[in-house]
Every structure is written in structure tokens, then in C-alpha cells.
Symmetry: C2
């Protein structure tokens, strides 16, 4: 199967490209390297050093004998997008190529607009290119469990059977996202569902939980195959960040009461879920949604688990929540579709000790503790302070 | 009350500005004249000639003694948007300033991206400016009944009490829009709801039905106060277009079976609804949704009504539906909120004879029958025909 991985140089895009290549698929990576640029902008770096894309690809060829193609460009450019898809002729497109940080999208007006424009326009261009070139191409789009927010009812997989005034309909699950980033994914989902309904495209929307971990079977094979390990308050996912805090002897910072409950999954399950989605495509006209996570945890229970696993007297501090969100809430989300396709989950309790803490310890000398502190406040991103300079993000 | 009317040079923006000024509010109009530019692009014109904005404002001053301020610029420019709002210091912002044609958004990739970028970014910039300058400003945003699509359950006013697995929540009504234009309004609604929830903004989302008519009490007072009358297949709303077809002796073109049912309202009710929304603002943090229409009709029943009213043997033809939509469906939509605020509706049966047909007859010599034909096909906007030139819309 020919698989185009958009955003294939990123935290999850790269391990996904490797995993798909390892099982025998023909892979091409597209990236504009925006993620590396955010590091420069924010003065942050991956805890684990990462090689440039070319060196990654060379290393993979050396250890596996397999070739991953690559193509540099920006999906916001419709001609580039069309030509890249036409040239490679994929059976499936895995689309990671979005600005993926909620805090980054909340820095200010310019970052909010950049995030929504980049994500929504890139996805629109991909939809048009698929429809124009070959509507049979299966689009696998990365969404987020954060799109749902924390409703007081059970979260289903993308669709909800709604009963109202004695009638019923199957409708897109109503969402209440918590940042302009999460909103961009909600916008994408609506656009993609429309394209499936109107043009007969086949799409899988993977609403992914919070990913933790840094190693997969493939990335371990050579240090130039490593993927990112972000621990900063803007791009670091909560679990990865807390693990680095623990090994640095820094208190684990919990936002608010830590009662926020989220679906989470191991990076090795991410890549496997995407393989499963590729190999079991949606049908023509189908907009299929999978909730891609394996376990639910509250943030404070994660902090306790890391504290226990780190075993060296790590402390936990509750700080004011920089976000606007419910700190205590009902949470129950369906996630059976990927298990039904055969996913064999990894569990956090095991991964923590066997992998995450040891990776963090090995690299802790690179950690910059100033990056742990949340620098973006949801309420302050727009406040009555008069006109400001609007930073432009390239 | 100081009211800023964004898109105040357009079909509804201009009569709204006049109506608010007539009742004593202090009005400023902002426009980038994009609507006049679409005419040039499409080779279409308003059936009723319209004066340039300056002349409109002069005519209004002459007949009423009241001054409407104006400011030319593009809301996609965040600095312009911020400064315009800061300079005028409104109590309320009425936001019409979006690309508002479904067929226009479906012309091709470039028009879809333009529509979503223009609409979503403009609205984001308005939200940021309000939050930064004065969160008490009441945002009145024009949405569309078309955002809901045609669900098999009753349509409520923006929110739905959802019961599921023995639990319940009040959630945004799940939407199934039928074009990239309608999708842009769904995106807006999600962004605005988030801004209300996160920053405490006060917003009213007016999901407006299909507007018909061309005259209001104010626009009748001088010919330079006239607003647009679009009858072409891209920007003309269905009822206005069919009235022009009837007076030109052209068959009334019904898409598909004509069983599509829609909420509709008279242009005089539009301007009155907006006055009511301004004078009864949403509270801090409130995202309030009104369904703004007065009657429901199927398209074929409208065609029959026009046929009867025109009384000169007008014929009706069913043509292939250029859109992808249900031609026969359940439709029942709540619309009590504006009636509760005191709206006194005009009814189509009366308006048709007293106003619409006579206006169309008076101007029929300007009509270009080639513009009646639907030029945009939903399924063909993206089809496997290889790369095309991507028209850029300024």
C-alpha cells in the first residue's frame, strides 16, 4: 500500500512513517518543518536530540533496507499539495500536518489565526486534491479527544444517535473544545464530513488522546531515528512533561485541582492504530471516527503514578490553571473501534518504568526547567490592554 | 446606542445601518466592498441600481438629517479591525461582513478557501479586538439556518438538551451544513461560543433564513438609498430570483423536486430583528442563538405562489439539483426567541404582490436571463480532471 504521511517529520508523524515502512508499505513523507521552527520561536528543544529528515531517512535505509521518500512543502499551497499527491499516487494519506499545541494557539491573535488558517486550509487543500485526483484515496486525519471537551454525557466515537421530541437522527457528536487549536480540528471534522457526504470521499478521523512515550520498536534501532520528546509547557504533553520534571527533581506541576480526566495512549499504540486504520479503510462516502486512546486518567492520578514510579521523593504542586476548563467533571468516552480492529494496547503503568523514566533520566542534562512554567494564560491572551504588536508566524 | 455595522454596504448590512440610524442609534459602517467586487468577477449586477456608499450616506443625511459614519477596510487585517473598533467605541457590533453565497464558496478550491479564510479570520479578529478593547461590547453575528442542514429531528435555537445513556447536557445543536460557506458559519459559531465561555464575551448568533424583498421603510425614501436585488444563480436568494424569472417570462427554475423546505423572512423583518437583538443584548459570557425567520416553505410551494401572484401564465421547470442535498425531508425549526422580543412579522403572501413583483417589473429591463442558470455544480467543483488553474480572489 502506498501511504503519504503529511507532517511526517513530527513527533508522531515520523514514528508512524517508520512503522508503516517497517511492515512493508511504500511511504512518502511531506513536511514544511514548521514544528522545528516553533522550537526556534519558543527557545525550546526536544529533550532527545533529533536528526534532520534526510539523515533520518538515510539511517532507516541503513538499518532496514527500506526507502522512505520525502517531499518538502506547505499544504497551505494548493498547487504544491495537488502535485505532491499526484506525483506519489497514494492509496492512503495520513494527515498529521497541523499546528498541534493548544497553548501555542492561545498565545495571541496572530497565533490563533495562524493555527486555524494553517490547519483548516491545509486540510481543505488535501480534500480538494483527493477529490480532483482520485476520490478512492483514504484520508486518515488526526483529530483530538480534546475536541469533545468534557460533556456531562458519555462521549461516543464521533457520531451520536440523538432522540428529541419523539424523533431521532444520527448526528455528529456535539463538541465543546477548549482552545483555538482544538477548534481548528472541529472545523476540520465538519469540512471532512461534508466532503465525504458531497463528493463520496472515504475518511477516518482519529480523535487521539494525549500521547506519552518517545520510543517505538523502529525508532530504537538507531539514534538518528529518534523522535521528539517535548517537555515544555507549550508543546510538551502533560505526562512527558511531568516525567522530565520528576527526573530533574522539579515539583510536578498540576494545573488546578488536577481532576481533569483525559484519555491517553502510548506512542507505540498511536503508530499501530494508524497502521490498523490504513489497512482497514473507510468505505466510499464514509466519515468514520475512532477515539484513539487506551486508558483514562485524571491528571492528579498521573502525577501520583509518576511520583511513585520515580521513587525519589518527587513532589507535586498545584498551580493556578492557565486554561479555562472544568477541573472536576464527568468523563466517560467510548473507544472500542480500534480494539475491534485488533489493537493490543500498552499500559501506562508498565511503560512508565520500562521506558519513559529511563529515557528522561538519560537526557535530563538537556532539560531547561524554565520551560516547565506555563507561559500562556487562556484568559490573558486577549485582555483590555490596548493594541499590541501582532507577531507574524511564517 | 453606538452600533458598528460590519459589511454595512451589502444587501442587508446597508438597510440595517439605515434602520438602526432611523431609530436613533449612532451608526458606523465598515466595509471592504468585496460584494461589489464579486459582481465584477461574475459579470452580474444588482437588478436595482445601487449608489456608492458615500452617496448613500449623503442621501440619508439629506432625507433624515442623521449621519452614518463609514470606514473602509478588511477585517482579515487585525490591526485595521482593532483600530476601527477602538476608534468608534461601539456598544454593539453587527457582523454581516462575510462572503455569503453557498454557490460562490463551491466554485472551486480557491473560492472555498477564500470563503472560509475570509469569514473565519475576520470573525476571529473581531473577537480578539472585542476581548482586548472592551469585553462588554455585544457581538451580533449573522449566521444561517443552512448551518443546521435538514436533520430528522426538530431544529432548536442553537442549543440542544441532549439525553444519552441516562445522563443529560445542554450542548451546541449538532449541525450538518451543505456548503463550504455554511461550514464557515458553523466554524464561526464554535469560535464565538468558545470566546464567550473563555473570555466572558456576550454574543448573539442570528441563524437567518432565506431573505426575500428589497425595500425597507428607510431604503424607499430616496433612490440612492436602494439596496441590492440579486437574482443570479450565485448570489440571488431563491425567492428573489424566481420573482425576476416570472416577470421576465422565464420559467421558474426549481432544483430537483423542490421539496426542500426552508425558513424564510422579509428583509424588513431582518432589519427589525437586528434592532431587537441590539436593544436586548446577551449577557456577559452568554452565547445566545436566535433562529431568524418567520415562515417555512418548500421551494415548490414558493414557485406556485409566485406563479399565482404573477398571474401571467408563468411556468415552472424542475432542473437537476446542482447542490447535494435532500430534496424531500422532515423540517421543523423553532423560532420563538425573536417573536418573544416583540417581532411583528411580515408575511410572504402580502409582500409578494405589494412589493416584490412590482419592484421586479420596474427593473426587469436590466435582467440578464443567462444569470438564472446554475453555473456551480456541487459534485463537479472537485472532480478527477487533473490540476486546474486556481483563480485567486483578491
Amino acid at each position: 500500500m502506498r501511504v503519504l504521511v503529511l507532517g511526517g517529520d513530527g513527533y508522531l508523524g515520523w514514528p508512524t512513517a517508520l512503522h508503516l515502512s517497517a511492515v512493508g508499505h511504500h511511504v512518502m513523507v511531506v513536511d514544511n518543518f514548521a514544528r522545528r521552527g516553533y522550537d526556534d520561536e519558543l527557545g525550546a528543544t526536544s529533550l532527545v536530540p533529533i536528526a534532520p529528515l534526510d539523515r533520518r531517512i538515510d539511517a532507516w535505509r541503513a538499518v532496514s533496507g527500506r526507502t522512505i521518500e520525502s517531499c518538502a512543502g506547505d499544504l497551505v499551497d494548493p498547487v504544491f499539495t495537488h502535485n505532491a499527491i499526484e506525483r506519489f499516487g497514494p492509496d492512503a494519506i495520513v494527515h498529521f500536518a497541523e499546528q498541534r499545541s493548544a497553548p501555542y494557539s492561545m498565545i495571541d491573535q496572530a497565533h490563533a489565526v495562524y493555527t486555524q488558517t494553517n490547519n483548516v486550509v491545509g486540510t481543505l487543500n488535501v480534500l480538494y486534491a483527493i477529490a480532483e485526483l482520485n476520490p478512492a484515496i483514504h484520508l486518515i486525519k488526526l483529530g483530538s479527544m480534546g475536541e469533545y471537551g468534557t460533556p456531562n454525557i458519555d462521549i461516543e466515537e464521533g457520531w451520536l444517535e440523538v432522540h428529541h421530541n419523539g424523533r431521532r437522527d444520527r448526528m455528529l457528536y456535539p463538541k465543546r473544545p477548549g482552545s483555538f487549536y482544538h477548534l481548528s480540528k472541529v472545523h476540520d471534522s465538519h469540512n471532512i464530513e461534508f466532503a465525504c457526504r458531497t463528493w463520496g470521499l472515504a475518511a477516518t478521523d482519529l480523535n487521539q488522546g494525549i500521547v506519552y512515550g518517545q520510543e517505538t520498536e523502529e525508532t530504537r534501532r538507531h539514534r538518528d531515528l529518534s523522535t521528539r520528546f517535548d517537555y515544555d509547557a507549550v508543546f510538551g504533553t502533560v505526562l512527558n512533561r511531568m516525567v522530565v520534571q520528576a527526573v530533574c527533581g522539579h515539583p510536578l506541576t498540576v494545573y488546578g485541582t488536577g481532576g481533569q480526566t483525559r484519555g491517553m495512549l502510548d506512542i507505540r499504540d498511536t503508530v499501530e492504530c494508524i497502521r490498523l486504520a490504513c489497512e482497514h479503510p473507510a468505505g466510499p462516502g464514509e466519515f468514520r471516527v475512532f477515539n484513539q486512546f487506551t486508558e483514562e486518567f485524571s491528571i492528579r492520578s498521573i502525577a501520583s503514578m509518576i511520583q511513585r514510579a520515580a521513587g525519589d521523593g518527587a513532589s507535586v504542586v498545584m498551580i493556578d490553571d492557565p486554561r479555562v476548563e472544568a477541573e472536576e467533571h464527568y468523563y466517560h468516552a467510548a473507544h472500542s473501534a480500534l480494539l475491534d480492529l485488533g489493537l493490543q494496547p500498552h499500559y501506562l503503568e508498565d511503560t512508565l518504568v520500562e521506558s519513559l523514566l529511563s529515557i528522561a533520566r538519560r537526557h535530563r542534562h538537556h532539560a531547561d526547567a524554565s520551560l516547565f512554567v506555563p507561559s500562556v494564560q487562556w484568559r490573558a491572551t486577549a485582555s483590555p490592554v490596548g493594541p499590541r504588536a501582532h507577531t507574524l508566524v511564517a
